[in-house]
Amino acid sequence: MNKLQHTLVSRATLSFTLAVVFSALYNLSTNHLQCDYLFLLEILGLIVCLELIDYVFNHISFNSRILYLCTEYALMYVCFLIFSFIGHWFSFTSTNLIFFSSIFVIFFDLLHFYSYCLLKTEANNINNHLLKKKI
């Protein structure tokens, strides 16, 4: 399972991303200016932006974990709204806002849960090594 997580999933995800980005760039460069291709690049831009926020936040010491999570959550949500507005992803009606914000929250929580699971595996590995040293 660990190998599957670390090699197959990450390799498949990277290959898929590269394929999608390449095809979007290729189609845009050959004057196939459908908005789908632009949308894919906008999504990529949002992901890069969110990762940068996460990277910066990892280097800041927060007084509490809750403050860290709430600040990061709020900043990422603002970023998502800005990209949505610039890219005209949806019209800003209250129904749409609730619907797309819910999707963003679900994505954010799932990704955080996935990172937490990976870290938990890492912690178990370290604890096993510590235990071995004690025996």
């Binding site: 937490y116 890492e122 090594h129 510590l130």
Partner: protein
């Protein structure tokens, strides 16, 4: 394992000789502890300079550009920066766990994952320290030896 201790009153230096068939993981750990015994750190206690054996230090941290060494009884003040101490203690059981903390893994009991991409290190002394994501790999490498 046999343990022989010879007390030589006129010996100029303590000498440890290990006779073994093979240096296994446990013996490697023991050698590390013995090596660590030779490290002493210059620090200040109540305004007076003293030399502290490294194996007595639980962890070292830096607050407002001041470096502190934590042992069971005392908190010492060091004039040296965290980077200098980190380099000095490279081959010992000390490892950097965050931008402002170096941990002696001899006192590390366990770690557990936190929601903010960090690990919480619990020491045998009951103290808890934070391991930031950037330093998890080096902690793992140090524990593996």
């Amino acid at each position: 394992m046999k343990l022989k201790i010879h007390q030589v009153p006129n010996a100029s230096e303590t000498e440890i000789v290990i006779n073994c068939q093979v240096v296994d993981e446990r013996l490697e750990q023991l050698i590390k502890y013995i090596t660590q015994y030779t490290y002493t750190l210059r620090a200040k206690k109540e305004g007076k300079f003293c030399f502290v054996p490294a194996e007595k230090i639980y962890y070292i941290d830096s607050v407002d550009s001041k470096t502190f060494l934590y042992s069971a009884e005392t908190v010492y003040n060091s004039a040296e920066s965290l980077i200098i101490l980190e380099n000095k203690l490279l081959d010992s059981t000390f490892v950097r766990i965050s931008k402002n903390c170096i941990l002696n893994i001899a006192y590390l009991e366990s770690v557990h994952a936190l929601w903010n991409h960090r690990l919480e290190a619990s020491l045998f002394t009951g103290e808890k320290l934070i391991v930031t994501r950037h330093y998890i790999e080096s902690l793992k490498a140090k524990i593996k030896g």
